[in-house]
């Protein structure tokens, strides 16, 4: 069987398209590359959607945490503390069993127990909490002079926030947010190892890598392939976020634009 046939059979296997049976013996390098790559679709799905949704929630939470009114501030603080202070792994388990209970009471909530929706919700809430902390820190370090200048120009309320405070907050928080995005994508590999089950072996990249390592007793092929894919993914994220960073700072001369520094920090 040529490699092209393998790609045709297994390229979209993680979505349930193509060959039904996973390879069982005589694993070729091509099969491992194709299946693990196919699993990566799920990682990208979880990462992208939760990042996009989480961004808006994070902005709201950051503003909530900075609010003077305790009715807004306290819930935001608690939300951020709960999601940042506990392991994502436990959050997945808890959410899964919570959704199972909900399903037994209200049958129409059944889709929540599938990873594609349930795990996505957990990831959205989780990344929102982490990003909110970043944006809150950035909001707190918006230079006083910027706000005074806005006041001097007669900008108030929403217009002052939209035109002056928010762009600066994004600029200051962006490098840390890039990091957060990278580690969010890494965190998506946990989904199928927590409570959420795979149906018909439709798993993510780590799921297939683990499958091959279990079958071949040889971790030295599938895990490096996985690593290769994730390094590519990380480089793509850095590229996209770097472009946004450049756009956010386009008023600054090139040399003054802040560089994005990578910090290995988050295993959630």
């Amino acid at each position: 069987m040529s490699c092209w046939e393998t790609i045709a059979d297994y390229g979209l296997r993680s979505l349930g398209i193509g060959e039904r049976l996973l390879p069982r013996s005589d694993f070729t390098l091509c099969q491992q590359f194709t299946l693990i790559g196919s699993g990566l679709i799920w990682n990208i799905y979880f990462g992208t959607l939760s990042l996009l949704t989480g961004f808006f929630l994070a902005n709201a939470l950051a503003l909530g945490k900075a609010a003077r009114n305790p009715l807004l501030r306290k819930p935001a603080e608690w939300f951020i503390f709960v999601f940042r202070g506990s392991p994502l792994f436990i959050q997945f388990f808890f959410a899964y069993f919570l959704f199972l209970q909900l399903k037994s009471v209200y049958p129409f909530l059944a889709p929540l127990t599938a990873a594609s929706l349930g795990a996505l919700i957990v990831l959205v809430l989780n990344t929102a909490a982490y990003s909110a902390e970043i944006f809150y820190g950035a909001l707190m370090s918006v230079p006083k002079g910027d706000i005074e200048a806005a006041d001097a120009y007669g900008l108030t309320g929403w217009r002052r926030f939209r035109r002056i405070i928010w762009p600066t907050m994004m600029r200051l928080g962006w490098p840390a947010y890039t990091n957060e995005a990278i580690f969010l994508f890494h965190a998506t590999t946990l989904v199928f190892f927590s409570g959420f089950p795979t149906t018909h072996q439709k798993g993510d990249a780590l799921y297939y890598a683990n499958y091959f390592a279990d079958k071949t007793f040889n971790p030295f092929v599938p895990y490096p392939i996985l690593a290769f894919y994730f390094i590519l993914l990380t480089l793509t994220i850095i590229g996209i976020f770097g472009a946004i960073n450049a756009r956010l700072n386009r008023h600054l001369p090139r040399v003054q634009q802040p560089r994005i520094r990578l910090l290995p920090q988050f295993l959630r």
Binding site: S86, I90, F97, A209, P219, L267
Partner: protein, 294 residues
Amino acid sequence: MFSFCSDPSSLEGLAWLSCYLTTGKHIEMYWALGTVLLLLAITAPTALAFGFGGAMAARSRFLPVSLFGRAYIAIVRGVPDIAFFMFFVIALDQLFEVIRHKLKCPDWPQDIWQGNDFVVCPEAKLPLGTAPQWVHETYGFFLAVLTFAIVFGAFAANVLFGAMRAVPRAQVETAEAYGMTQRQAFWRIIVPQMWVYALPGLSNLWMVLIKATPLLFLLGIEDIVYWARELGGAKTARFSDYPHPDWRMWYFLALLIFYLLFTRVSEIVLDRIMRRLTRGQATVAGEAQRKAAA
């Protein structure tokens, strides 16, 4: 546990719960909490040692050593940590068995890798097939600790490497002016001063390490996640004196709260340490402390 627990079906409310929460299995689960703490207690210093070694290697002026140190630091950035966990546990196990195989049975006729099988001679198996259960468990735990130490050592190396470079250059120059050698300057000037720069990163790392402990479950250790799934599952009256529906949600809620408390306590303690370490340092925070005291 308690004397009134002999007939659980006759109990109600709190009495039932107090008996339920002290069954033998639950006591085992509480011991598993101890396993987590033990893992943290062993891993944290080991990882710090790995980190220190990594940072020193990265600083080395001998290029291959420096490259090795930098590669060790860099490699954890691009790849999900959980992949490392799953990789190292198998890889280390195989590495030990291959070494023992080469030493103990040099004239073993077959290949170690036969198609999809990994076969070493029986004497080289780790732990030996005849070993009692606790040896197997301890070996599994040892592998887990080593894996954690390797992964978190790389994180720590990154933090310490940065901290060593953050010590003001003038300090080292002064040491050299006093006639200290490179090595003396490193041990007597840089190492004592770097901790204040390293502590924010290390405390972050400690939080991350706490939150990584449930991953022990993935490494095949009977930890609290294992017990929460085991005990929380629905039990019928036929197999258990304490029948209950699916309570896994509540067990994981309890774990969630356990971790939140743990994080909170760590935060408070680390804050204290930071304040103690900042005292008398030539940093903004140190200066602020001096002014507040004056």
